[in-house]
């Protein structure tokens, strides 16, 4: 049995579980992931059997009930249970966090590696593209994109394609827009780091050796370079995840993202009207659940950076 190689998944997991805070953060993140999986399966089940999911069942005579044994976090203006809605909101948040971070990571890593490895005009092109993206205000881009998609101002065939995607992913168009919007704006940081790291790795002995063995450039990039910069991807993925969740909340709060599915942003936007009347539970539930998801993600990201980024030194 080989010992854990620094940087492999086994090594990372071992290090995470050794730290107290990182272990707690990791467990919370895993719980959120399991919760969202559960909610997603439940949503599919409800959609197939045609029943209303528990978080969408409203009873107008029971609206604005304060927290009680029956409704732990009270009810909202339609009499829906806030506890279940905020849990379902976690499902939406994780779904968006995951897909947006995956989109960013794929774009960032591929463009970064190509730019770093080939240099010359490929590098110039990639730098130009990411400078352009970096100079756009992110939130405005996402809002414009969400508006374009959800309000149907998009080129029809493209809109058709997105609709198909939306059906597959069991999401509405607004959500797909937010996935894409956050994903398309979030890759710049990772791309810069990956590009720099690839430039460094390009000159290391084993990449030169692979070159002199006669491997083709793509094999070198994916076999020899990518595994050796994957720690950066893991760090950035965690960080982007937290950021994507928050962005989703903001966009939904502004009324442009998620429409039909329960979302923390929508809950905060609904609940704020009742705040001055003392109806605090809806906003509190959504905010608290978001807080306890984003904080561990950030802590985990920081910890991963500490153990994986060689520039910070091994401690």
């Amino acid at each position: 049995m080989a010992a854990a190689v620094p940087g492999t998944l086994r090594y990372i997991l071992k290090r995470i579980l050794c730290g107290k805070i990182s272990c707690a953060a990791f467990i919370i993140v895993v719980l959120y992931l399991l919760l969202s999986c559960g909610m997603e399966i439940y949503a599919y089940h409800c959609a197939y059997s045609g029943i209303d999911p528990i978080y969408a069942k409203g009873n107008m005579s029971m609206n604005f009930l304060p927290p009680s044994a029956e409704h732990w976090f009270g009810t909202d203006y339609q009499g829906r249970d806030v506890f279940w809605r905020s849990l379902a909101g976690a499902g939406t948040a994780v779904k968006i966090g995951m897909s947006a971070s995956i989109i960013s990571a794929v774009i960032g890593v591929i463009l970064g590696m190509l730019a770093g490895y080939f240099g010359k005009w490929v590098d110039d092109l990639v730098v130009w593209i990411y400078s352009t993206f970096a100079s756009m205000p992110t939130l405005l881009f996402i809002l414009a994109f969400a508006l374009l998609v959800s309000k149907g101002f998009l080129f029809p065939p493209a809109a058709e394609l997105l609709k198909k995607f939306a059906n597959v992913f069991h999401a509405d168009m607004g959500m797909i827009a937010v996935y894409l919007g956050i994903g398309l704006t979030g890759w710049v940081g990772l791309c810069q780091v990956v590009r720099a790291e690839t430039m460094k790795l390009r000159e290391t002995g084993y990449v030169l050796a692979a070159k002199s063995m006669g491997f083709n450039p793509f094999k070198i990039i994916f076999r020899h370079i990518m595994p050796n910069l994957f720690h950066l991807v893991i760090i950035y993925f965690t960080m982007r995840f937290a950021y994507s969740v928050m962005t989703e909340v903001i966009v939904s709060y502004l009324g442009l993202g998620v429409e039909s599915a329960p979302s923390w942003g929508v809950m905060i936007s609904d609940g704020q009207e009742g705040l001055w009347r003392g109806l605090w539970w809806e906003v509190t539930a959504a905010t608290a659940l978001m807080f306890f998801m984003v904080l561990p993600l950030h802590l985990l990201g920081d910890y991963l950076r500490d153990i994986l980024d060689p520039r910070l030194g091994e401690n």
Binding site: G7, G205, Y206, K211, S212, M213, G214, N228
Partner: protein, 326 residues
Amino acid sequence: MSLVEVQDLKTWYPVKTGLFSAKKHVKALDGVSFNIEKGETVGLVGESGCGKSTLGRTLMCLERHKSGAYRIDGVDISGLSGSELRKARSSFQMIFQDPYGSLNPRMTVCRMLDEVLCLHTKFSTQERKDRIAELLKMVGLPLQAMERYPHQFSGGQRQRIGIARSLAVNPKFIVADEPVSALDVSVQAQIINLLRDIQSKTSIAYLFIAHDLAVVEHISSRILVMYLGRIVESGPAREICSNPLHPYTKALISAVPSIDPATRRNRIFLPGDVPSPLDPPHGCPFHPRCPIARARCSEEVPALFPADSSGERHSACFFASEVPAM
């Protein structure tokens, strides 16, 4: 026909010096020609920055050469590119200086070698496994090494893995770029003897790059001495070390430390530094530091002329006959 034929090879790196100034070049290799025969070891010495490694990397097509040509085993490698070059690469390989950086930390030894065999042979899985075992045996590593990662080995063992990797494709010519300078002395000897054993079994030719003259003298049959991107002297190893015919070689050899006070050589101290290859001196590149330089040396570039009657020794010095008396 020699196994390796290099003719007037030049590798220049473009340098941006300023917005409006003319484009300049670092002349890392400035017209190098030599041959290597089958099964021969040729040593390449010179101080840091003289272009030794650039020569090795250019021969491996890791750097683009500017002009000149080289043939390895009758194939004009300098004219190849893309997939043709990748196929031809199995006939020439390189051993790298840094045994810590030259192995992918995420791959086991077995995967590393298997990958190479997959690329260049049509062996079945079992044949590849046998070949890997054979290679490990050849470089003196136990079979258990197969499933281990590079960080589980010492420097010398890693260098053995690097050697096994370059031998995997049955090359005819290997460039060893300072293969022992990162290792400690006892391990150096083991690696050098390993390289010799392999040569006697497979008749591979080596271009052995080093800055340590003692090591080079031990392993090579011929030596090339480089200074500022050019070869300044070439000839049989023993004779070069006992009777150098270029003032630079003489100074280099006088700098080899000796522990025996009776045979302590007359140390020749060279004034100044190696000139910048961005701006090499006019005439002979060595003349600003040469103790026997004359007016002619700053005007003409000496070619590598035959320096003795046997025709084996060459020196790029106008006054080679005066060197022994220096």
